[in-house]
């Protein structure tokens, strides 16, 4: 499976083995760095699409229904444009509930499976992991290229469901049966697209595992691997073992929809005013089990790469060794193991036995222990450090309190008694968005600033970066914190018009504030996009190690040539030897002979 182009130690001459055509070099490349950048750009595009959808939904939620003095003749600019663009779906600029459900389902699916996971795992994992372990490429370069193209096809198939009769799938990203089985045809495309996307990430996971177990350079024992690599290794195992279960589940749902099977259809299910035409006898709860058996490890797939990124950035920018390397790695492994035995805490309301619920309460609260251990280690890493407050560090620092809020708000959801009240409210939405958006996603934005110099040989502008940071973190808090209030007040998720329930009226005002925060957040991404493209040509040119860091990715040229390292790296020590007494600089790279 080894591609003939990927010999190590050939230095800057990356055109050995004949000149590469444009297509081979930038489009159908087998180089892990190009594939990583392809993944990065594609997942940023999907993130933008998902953000666009949710912006539209937040606009709807701010003013969900026409006021008493509403005049259909004078719609105003925004409503007029929306009504013109989306026609029936947004008549008079107010969203039809069906369309709201479609956007909601697609927002979740896109953000998780096509946005954050590919960004954290495939983009940065692909680019950074082989560099950090001193390998010339991934173990299976052609399989790597295939993963990317399968992912892209899966994403396009997913979006193409817009053209199905009745549009996008509308059963939520969780696609709960039996509603998802009786839903319009878009849901069939969801099942097919999910099977394609899962296939892609399975190939990726196999590649990562083999690369990290087999291709470490001389001296790079597992105990010397940077935390980011460890996070990717645990993540790859989670992807490998958890995803196939959903693949099977999606296959069963697909057959329920197209082949007349009844895995998720109970006997004599009433649909509308008739009995649903299927043999019946299946169980809708079965879907929930199969789904959450994937989807809870998936939460840690979203989170672990971000923790790895934050560890790298914090160690570099505090100029001192990471506090508790072994504890962090051990906790990550423990999280990986425990994440397989907590899934049913999403299902306390499904009528499960109390004794079973108790079991899952216990495991769920146990998994918070390693998470808190990691957070504590990262916090203690700051103590006594000479902190450099550059853009990546700001994102890494903000990860700590943001993930803290996300984790702490999760505890009441892990307890069955409190969960009964909070289940399916905006509290849940606020909780997991704190983990994923200002937590994971912000950390991955920090990773973009941190590894950009390695990717393109130039640094991104720090002032624009700081503007981007503040305009990202502050609005995100104004979006997600009010959700906790609304949820505790009893406002349920997935309602196109919450004001139809009178008990939601007192907290409806927050939705207007949240909309303004969404607009600010959108404007705040403009400096980032500008910075990203402007710095390609105009950023400060940097040498191989612009942050004076110790890990191996900084030992090769920026950007690294085909084959990565000019000479084969040899590792002499652990990953975070900063401020070693007696050494001439305050950092001692892993590959420097003492």
């Amino acid at each position: 499976m080894k591609d003939s182009h990927a010999h190590p130690g050939h230095g800057a001459g990356h055109d050995h083995g004949g000149p590469q055509s444009f297509w081979r070099k930038y489009v159908f490349s087998v180089d892990h760095k190009v594939i990583g950048i392809q993944y990065m750009i594609t997942s940023f595009l999907f993130l933008l699409i998902g953000f666009g959808m949710i912006s539209l939904m937040r606009y709807q939620l701010a003013w969900p229904s026409p006021p008493d003095d509403f005049d259909p003749e004078k719609l105003g600019m925004i409503r007029g444009t929306l009504a013109w663009l989306l026609g029936d779906r947004m008549e008079y600029g107010f969203m039809k509930p069906d369309f709201y459900n479609q956007l909601g389902a697609m927002h979740g699916t896109i953000m998780i499976f096509l946005g954050v996971v590919p960004l954290g795992v495939a983009a940065f994992g692909n680019f950074v992991v082989p560099l950090q372990i001193g390998a010339p490429d991934m173990a299976f370069p052609r399989l790597n290229m295939m993963s990317y193209w399968i992912y892209l096809v899966g994403g396009i198939v997913m979006l193409s469901s817009y053209f199905a009769p009745d549009g996008f799938p509308q059963s939520g990203w969780t696609s709960y049966a039996p509603l998802s089985v009786v839903a319009p045809p878009g849901q069939t495309i969801w099942c097919i697209a999910m099977i394609i996307i899962i296939t892609s990430s399975l190939f990726g996971a196999i590649n990562f595992i083999v690369t990290m177990l087999n291709m470490r350079c001389q001296g790079m024992s597992l105990g010397r691997m940077p935390v980011f690599c460890w996070a990717q290794l645990v993540t790859a195992v989670l992807l490998l073992v958890a995803f196939p279960v959903l693949e099977g589940g999606a296959l069963l749902q697909l057959l329920d929809r197209v082949a007349g099977t009844s895995f998720y259809i109970p006997k004599d299910m009433m649909y509308g005013s008739t009995v649903f035409p299927a043999a019946g006898g299946g169980s809708p709860i079965l879907w929930q089990h199969l789904f959450w058996f994937l989807a809870h490890p998936e939460v840690y797939v979203l989170l672990l790469p971000a923790m790895g990124v934050v560890s790298e950035i914090i160690a570099t920018n505090t100029r001192k060794p990471l506090f508790g390397y072994k504890e962090i790695v051990g906790s990550m492994i423990l999280i990986g193991v425990l994440s397989f035995v907590v899934w049913a805490h999403h299902m306390f309301l499904s009528g499960m036995r109390t004794s079973l619920a108790n079991l899952f309460v216990t495991t769920t609260l146990t998994i918070s222990v390693p998470s808190v251990a990691i957070l504590t280690c990262l916090l203690l890493s700051l103590r006594g450090g000479a902190i450099r407050f550059n853009t990546p560090m700001l994102f890494a620092l903000s990860f700590l309190p943001m993930f803290g809020i996300g984790g702490l708000t999760g505890l009441p959801l892990g307890f069955a008694p409190t969960d009964l009240h909070l289940h399916d409210t905006y509290y849940v939405i606020g909780h997991f968005h704190y983990v994923v958006a200002p937590g994971s996603l912000a950390a991955l934005m920090g990773a973009t600033y941190y590894w950009y110099p390695k990717m393109f040989g130039r640094r991104m502008n720090d002032t624009l970066g700081k503007i981007h940071f503040w305009m990202t973190i502050v609005p995100m808090n104004f979006i997600f914190f009010p959700m906790l209030f609304q949820g505790m007040h009893g406002m349920q998720r997935r309602l196109a018009d919450p004001t139809l329930q009178w008990h939601n009226l007192p907290v409806q005002g927050w939705s207007v504030i949240m909309l303004f925060a969404v607009v600010t957040l959108a404007i705040g991404q403009i400096p980032f996009l500008f910075n990203f493209f402007w710095s390609l040509r105009n950023g400060e040119v940097v040498e191989e190690n612009p942050w004076n860091s110790t890990t191996l990715e900084w030992a090769c040229p920026s950007p690294p040539p085909h084959g990565n390292f000019l000479k084969e790296p040899v590792v002499f020590r652990g990953p975070y030897e900063y401020s070693v007494p007696g050494h001439k600089t305050d950092y001692l790279p892993q590959d420097e002979a003492a």
Partner: protein, 202 residues
Amino acid sequence: MSTAAATAAAAHGSQFDTNTGISHAKLGTWAFLASEIMLFGGLISAYVILRSGSSHMAIPPRALMGVPLATFNTFALITSSVTMVLALAAIKENDIPKFARYIGATIGGGCIFLVVKAYEYHHKWEEGITISSNLFGSFYYTLTGLHVLHVTGGILLMLFILITGLRGAYSPENHERVEAAGLYWHFVDLVWVILFPILYLL
């Protein structure tokens, strides 16, 4: 444990100077099989749970299931696993004709399995056990259908191994791909050994 040696080893398959001492191909195959176990494991668990939990899982009479034919099929598949082992042993002795015969026998075993399976499907469909007739039918066709896809993929893989083997791609020093294909084939065999009792006998 240098990467240059690792890369060279992967390219030529002559030695495995990797960190684990196991070739990329073999380690990757094991990882792939781990995910396959979870795929079949999830589906089989779903079957076990609904079979013990649902009151509408009507099990067809054993006569309708055609146990003797399925037993013959099990035998055919297990035999093909044995010939796969012998094929690997033959390539280790650098006996290409013997290797080709045994790989051919493996392909033959897989094909016999598919033909019998096709007959079984036809027969059951005629008898009214269809994918939508009841919950058992749904599981029967889904589980065995997914397995049939895996057998088909395995036969294509074996054809590839046979053709490349006849062109001299494998030798006593370099037979990792044959071994990896063998691992996959044994796995497919093993899945059937689990599916056969839970669908036909219990």
